[in-house]
């Protein structure tokens, strides 16, 4: 879907309406029929008539301020604005008359009287709606002259790292203000002053950087002039070509147009037809893509015998041959199952398919796993058990039909910002909100959004709270009996009902466990059960716990018991973290499941893969990532092929992970930077960023979208080609010539993907699996008539306290999370200007806890657990409750995971990042771990530089 010349996408002026009632009218002699509630402007646009406009754009509600879109309507006096005038049956409209043209010209004349005339050197030259409208209305002179008062000397605000606000170019159409309100929901901008003095300002006339602006780019996108423009356009000029692709940050999976000159990306603009984001974006996807060409990118393969040796740059053939020979040597010496692989949730479906295929068919083992292990593996387990499929049940659009939204253990304004903006839109329209979180996240109280209930529970007590909610629903007769009788297993429901009804599960009895007042629990439960369509959205604050899987099942229980599943506006919605973690799981990255979530012991399924792949496959489950580390320390796991996953920084108990890697004999890392894991590697295979990829990602909605290459792989090989080469070197042939062939194989072997092809994706834009004969264009909402497993199954969810408990030695509970501007381990975002918003991880601590320990804001504090100790700076805030501290994990030197422990979910070993018993104390120097890390990192950086120096010396010697 390549557009070879940038042309403005059709803008219909005002938003589409979806009424089933239609209205027929005549515009400029053409008969047009549109849904009721459509504006005259949009009706004209749909008939192919472009009414001049400046303040109207179809991503925003009509405003009626610019007075350019005036029309004449027969039988009506005056010249109404077509953007704010709704169609009526039989209306007869004229959009162009001499009188209208004169009026429009006069309006433009006023605009241009207060506007610089430097079009030819303006960054928006050729991409400016003001310029366009001046041309359309035939402006030839400005009779007011230019000597009077004006704003052309106003100074630009360049504080934001990515875009400039130049008020001299501003026509106060207010599109930016409205975009910040309607689309993003941050309300950071306003119009200050009146009349001629009206100016757009951020905050209280702050700089953009100092204001509440979250740099989502919605204002830049909406701005019709150069008033808000990307800095890249200033520096490099306008793009000439655009390629539709998908963001490589979070699980929302926004559609973007990569706008380029040749292979140079000028800007990423949100794709209006992206069904996940519908034309919106966040700071990361919109602006923070420069890491792809950062100087830290490694583009040549490297090998070394020991991690204390300098790296040797070698050819692809040599690196692949060395890796393959090492893996085979290890298997011969230690056994077939002494090796394994980790697939990347940042890579495409096609790429992760090949890695798990290599592990199963070439290595001959099921020791393959993925980063979902440490985030949503409990979702996979819990939803499979209860509903029959390991995935969320809805689309993102579904939130627009919800009446009650319950957000549990998720912070969507930071971690899924584009979806959060949609949710806030619905909340501003009156949907009710329940937030279950130990922290006072932004959703609890934000601009025009306020939670009806904030259940601020103690970390580690989710299951007690969820069971208490169920207790209320059951004992107060709020169960949807008809739904349960028709759609769920009777026995499991009755057992569950009897269990939750017990007095020990009441809100009153659990109050001392959760810390949440019983009245709030009762109120929230009643609201969810009786408030209409109830939708639950949850994140890692549910899954990253010792009872993560139990909590997921408890959530499914609530949804089934209240009939909140199987249609729009309801459902169980796990907010998947990574751009392709859903896809990586779908593609069989788990050690116990083949692609499509089918157990490896299933003879028929295994036989289908054996027939297709031509080798016998194992029927026993393989090692999960934490088990790989344990096996490595026991001496039975010696080789790892790790693609695009930084286990040293992101997995818990860093010292344990590092020791495990040191115990291995061959660690092969395929990545774009020398990350923390690569410092323990013996082979480095340079990978590709998303701008260099062709393939597909699957987002949290099960939506499969295309990723399209903008530049050739900097290393010369695509990630899938590297895996293929390694497989061939291992003796298992792979001969794909294009990722579409891999998708065809996926479709042949995976029933839920049977109807997927690149042709279909190009035609439809994206599809949500299951996509097969029964649903050839995909499945937006799951479990509509029946559950995937037939009848839904209830599970008893007894609260079992975590082993991570406070004590006199460790009296506080540490929980972790994310921040908007940085992404996970920060490998990408730390290498962009996003560091201006968050350049270090800090420890949030309640004022009382800080005072008890003599800690002041900004002071260095030690954080110690039974696993280890690190040092961070303190931020005193009441967002956390007394007894709870919080930090992020975006910077390796913070060592957040030095402190987290091996406590994990009982079913999946998903680490309990959200509950670590710690003590916090004022300190004066970095921790012992940080000192060791610093020394180790300095050494590894030197070993990397030495390889560079050697290459340069060789160049000097050979003259090449």
């Amino acid at each position: 879907m390549q557009e070879t010349v940038i042309s403005r996408e059709r803008d219909f002026g005002t938003p589409a309406r979806t009424s089933s009632q239609t209205v027929t009218l005549v515009i400029d002699g053409r008969t047009v029929t549109v849904p009721e509630g459509t504006s005259v402007m949009r009706a004209a646009a749909e008939a192919g008539i472009a009414v001049p406009r400046l303040c109207a754009t179809d991503s925003l509600e009509a405003f009626g301020s610019c007075r350019l879109c005036l029309v004449e309507i027969e039988g009506r006096r005056g010249y109404p604005a077509s953007c704010t005038t709704l169609v009526e049956e039989g209306m007869v409209v004229h959009t162009r008359t001499d009188r209208l043209q004169k009026l429009r010209r006069n309006v433009m004349e006023l605009y241009i009287s207060d506007h610089p005339l430097d079009c030819l050197t303006c960054p928006s030259n050729g991409d400016c709606e003001l310029q366009e409208m001046a041309g359309v209305v035939g402006l030839r002179e400005v009779r007011y002259g230019f000597e009077g008062a004006s704003h052309v000397a106003d100074c630009a605000d360049k504080s934001n790292p990515y875009f400039v606000y130049d008020p001299s170019k501003c026509i106060v159409c207010s599109r930016c203000v409205r975009a910040c309100e309607e689309i993003q929901g941050t309300f950071a901008l306003t119009v200050q002053g009146r009349g001629f003095n009206s100016r757009i300002v951020a905050g209280q006339d702050d700089s953009f950087l100092e204001s509440d602006c979250v740099s989502c780019g919605a204002c830049v996108q909406a701005c019709p002039t150069a008033a808000l423009e990307e800095k890249n356009v200033y520096q490099m000029g306008l793009p000439v070509e655009s390629i539709v692709t998908t963001c490589a940050y979070c699980g929302v999976g926004c559609g973007f147009k990569a706008e380029v000159q040749g292979q140079q990306v000028i800007r990423m603009t949100p794709w209006k037809d992206g069904k996940a984001n519908r034309g919106h974006s966040c700071v990361k996807g919109r602006f923070a893509w420069g890491y792809a060409t950062h100087k830290d990118r490694i583009t040549r393969p490297m090998i070394r015998r020991s991690i204390d040796d300098p790296w040797q740059e070698v050819s692809w053939e040599e690196a692949i041959r060395y890796a393959a020979s090492e893996f085979r040597r290890i298997q011969q010496q230690y056994g077939r199952d002494a090796v394994g692989g980790i697939t990347s949730s940042r890579c495409t479906n096609e790429e992760t398919w090949l890695v798990q295929k290599l592990v199963r068919a070439a290595f001959g083992t099921n020791n393959v796993d993925t980063c979902a292990r440490v985030c949503h593996s409990p979702t996979g387990y819990g939803l499979k058990q209860t509903l029959g499929e390991s995935a969320g049940t809805q689309t993102f659009d579904s939130v627009m039909h919800a009446n009650v939204i319950m957000v549990i253990g998720a912070n969507p304004t930071d971690a899924h910002p584009v979806f959060a903006s949609r949710m806030k839109r619905r909340l501003r329209k009156g949907a009710r909100l329940i937030v279950v979180d130990p922290r006072r996240i932004d959703l609890v109280a934000g601009p025009h959004v306020r939670a009806d209930y904030h259940l601020q529970l103690r970390p580690g007590t989710n299951v007690a709270l969820l069971t208490a909610l169920a207790h209320v629903i059951v004992t107060e007769n709020l169960v949807d009996e008809d739904f349960v009788a028709a759609r769920c297993e009777g026995d499991s429901f009755r057992q569950w009902r009897d269990f939750v009804a017990r007095p020990e599960n009441s809100p009153e009895a659990t109050e001392s466990i959760t810390g949440v007042p019983a009245a709030l629990v009762r109120g929230a439960a009643r609201l969810y059960a009786t408030g209409g369509n109830g939708a639950i959205y949850y994140g890692l604050g549910v899954t990253e716990h010792a009872q993560g899987s139990t909590a997921v099942m408890a959530i499914a229980n609530l949804a089934m018991a209240t009939g909140n599943i199987g249609r729009e506006g309801v459902g169980v919605n796990p907010l998947r973290g990574q751009n392709n973690v859903q896809g990586s799981c779908d593609m069989g990255s788990f050690p116990h499941e083949f692609p499509g979530y089918r157990h490896v012991s299933d003879d028929a399924v295994r036989a289908s893969f054996e027939a297709a792949w031509g080798v016998p496959l194992q029927s026993e489950p393989g090692l999960r990532i934490p088990n790989m580390f344990d096996a490595a320390l026991s001496g039975t796991f010696k080789g790892l092929y790790c693609q695009g996953e930084d286990i040293v920084q992101s997995d818990p108990n860093t010292q344990h992970v590092a020791a495990a890697l040191r115990a291995m004999e061959c660690v092969v890392v395929q990545d774009i930077f020398l990350n923390e894991t690569a410092k323990y590697a013996h082979v480095f295979l340079p990978g590709c960023s998303f701008l260099e990829k062709d393939g597909t990602f699957t987002n949290a909605e099960r939506r499969i979208s295309r990723v399209r290459k903008v530049m050739e792989p900097l290393s010369g090989m695509a990630d899938w080609q590297i895996t293929q080469a390694l497989s061939n070197a291992l003796g298992y042939p792979m001969n794909y010539s294009h990722p579409s062939e891999i998708m065809d194989e996926i479709a042949r072997l995976t029933p839920t993907f049977a109807g997927v092809s690149y042709e279909k994706l190009d035609r439809l834009g994206s599809v949500q699996w299951p996509c097969n004969e029964q649903a050839p264009e995909g499945t937006p909402v799951m479990h509509v008539g029946e559950f995937v497993r037939g009848k839904g199954r209830f599970f008893i969810t007894r609260y079992v306290p975590s082993d991570e408990r406070t004590s006199s030695r460790f009296p506080l509970l540490l929980t972790t999370g994310r921040i908007l501007s940085q992404y996970n381990v920060g490998a990408q975002t730390r290498r962009t200007p996003n560091v201006v918003w968050h350049d270090e991880d800090m420890l949030e601590i309640h004022p009382q806890d800080a005072q008890d320990r003599g800690i002041v804001d900004g002071a260095w504090v030690g954080v110690r657990s039974r696993a280890g100790e690190t040092v961070l700076r303190a931020k005193i805030t009441e967002r956390v409750a007394p007894g709870v501290v919080y930090t992020t994990f975006h910077f390796p030197e913070s060592g957040a995971n030095v402190v987290t422990t091996d406590s994990s979910d009982w079913a999946t070993n998903c680490p309990e990042y959200k509950v670590t018993a710690v003590e916090v104390m004022a300190v004066h120097e970095p921790s012992a771990w940080q000192q060791r890390w610093s020394q180790f990192s300095v050494k590894q950086d030197r070993l990397l530089r030495e390889r560079m120096r050697k290459r340069d010396e060789d160049l000097v010697l050979t003259g090449k």
Binding site: D337, F499, S549, H592, E620, N627, I796, W906
Partner: protein, 86 residues
């Protein structure tokens, strides 16, 4: 493999299934979970441990009774086929 860790993991599995009112269903739940999710060397390590320590205890850490029962009674089913053959 670190047996103490395996015991802790097994006990947490047991704690979930223990809540089931039907004892046989709980035992079966534990067995099937270990079979479906635990890699062979983990199961073998646990089985070997229980053979050597029928009381299920290593130092201060013990397998909970339900888990001990499940593993002992279904040892054949839990032992990987390849290990069974030797």
């Amino acid at each position: 493999m670190d047996v103490a860790n395996l015991i802790r993991m097994a006990n947490r599995i047991g704690a979930f299934f223990e809540a089931m009112p039907d004892h046989a269903e709980a035992v079966n739940g534990i067995v099937q979970h270990l079979r479906r999710f635990w890699e062979p060397r983990m199961r073998v390590a646990l089985l070997d441990f229980l053979e050597q320590h029928p009381d299920g205890c290593q130092g201060e850490i013990c397998l909970m009774p339900l888990v001990r029962e499940a593993v002992a009674q279904h040892a054949d089913e839990l032992r990987p086929a390849a290990a069974r053959a030797t």
